[in-house]
């Protein structure tokens, strides 16, 4: 069965926001998440395929509601919890 990320050909997402274009990161935390993903990968905590899988297996509602780097952060949390590096809920307020 297709996962939620498999959106090719799906209707209803509206026009492309072509103006959302130039900056690689909208906010500093997005850059930090980018750096975290690369640092953890480089250390072998997880690999790229595990990371992609963690994004692609997000619950559909959460996936669609999340921005690009929110998905990245969710995937990092999932993998770190699964591997016992952090405790579930350890990052929550």
């Amino acid at each position: 069965m297709a996962r939620i990320n498999d959106v090719g050909g799906v209707e209803g997402f509206g026009p492309v926001d072509t103006a959302d274009d130039s900056e690689p990161f909208h906010a500093d935390w997005e850059a930090r998440v980018f750096g975290l993903m690369n640092a953890l990968r480089a250390q072998g905590i997880f690999n790229l395929n595990e990371f992609r899988d963690a994004i692609e297996s997000m619950p559909p509602g959460e996936y669609l509601a999340a921005s690009y780097y929110e998905r990245w952060f969710a995937a990092i949390r999932t993998l770190l919890e699964r591997k016992g590096v952090i405790e579930p809920g350890e990052l929550d307020d």
Binding site: G9, V16, D17, R32, L36, A39, R52, I86
Partner: protein
């Protein structure tokens, strides 16, 4: 995008994770800055533009580029990650190419620089494979009805880059001047030159 409130929440959580990882010895101060800086320094559409300008001025290189993009860009020192294959697709008078990653955001980062947000959006990913002509029109690109459009869907293994057509009236230009004409969107295929 998320509103300010959720932005502040996630920013706090990211900081908390950084602190936790530092306490556990999995992250050292400055490591993230280094990762971010080296990413931004090594990834630029200027790299892709250099490849295009060489292809426009060197027919043998152009042939090698279209036959094996991975090996050809390596000749110019623009290395894509060694785990991927780069395929360069050429626009002609009657065909136009455009790239996408319907599943996520695969993209030849070193050659094109950081990908624009719209490339990672559901709207672009879902629609460009179904109605490319309409999506290209949203970028202001109206192609003649007779032009054949091919959409290339990237994967974890294969990345694509468009070789745009060389603009008319550029015969006297140097390779460097030609590279200056090439835009990121022309390398994606959402613009022509």
């Amino acid at each position: 995008m998320s509103g300010d409130h959720s932005d502040a929440t996630i920013a706090r959580r990211v900081r908390r994770l950084e602190t936790l990882l530092e306490e556990k010895g999995l992250l050292t101060g400055g490591e993230l800055d280094e990762a971010i800086d080296s990413f931004l320094a090594g990834a630029s559409p200027a790299n892709g533009a250099r490849v295009v300008a060489r292809a426009w001025t060197d027919a043998a290189f152009r042939s090698r580029l279209l036959a094996d993009g991975t090996a050809a860009v390596r000749e110019l020192g623009s290395m894509e990650g060694s785990y991927q294959r780069l395929r360069v697709v050429e626009n002609t008078a009657t065909t136009h190419n455009v790239i996408v990653c319907t599943l996520c955001s695969c993209y030849p980062l070193r050659l094109l620089g950081p990908s624009p947000s719209w490339y990672k959006s559901e709207a672009y990913r879902s629609r460009v494979v179904r109605e490319p002509r309409a999506v290209l029109a949203e970028f202001g690109l109206e192609l003649p009805p007779g032009t054949r459009i091919t959409v290339w869907d990237s994967s974890a293994e294969t990345r694509y880059m468009v070789l745009p057509r060389r603009p008319d009236g550029t015969e006297g230009m140097s390779e460097e001047e030609l590279a200056g004409l090439v835009t990121r969107n022309a390398l994606i295929g959402t613009a022509v030159l």
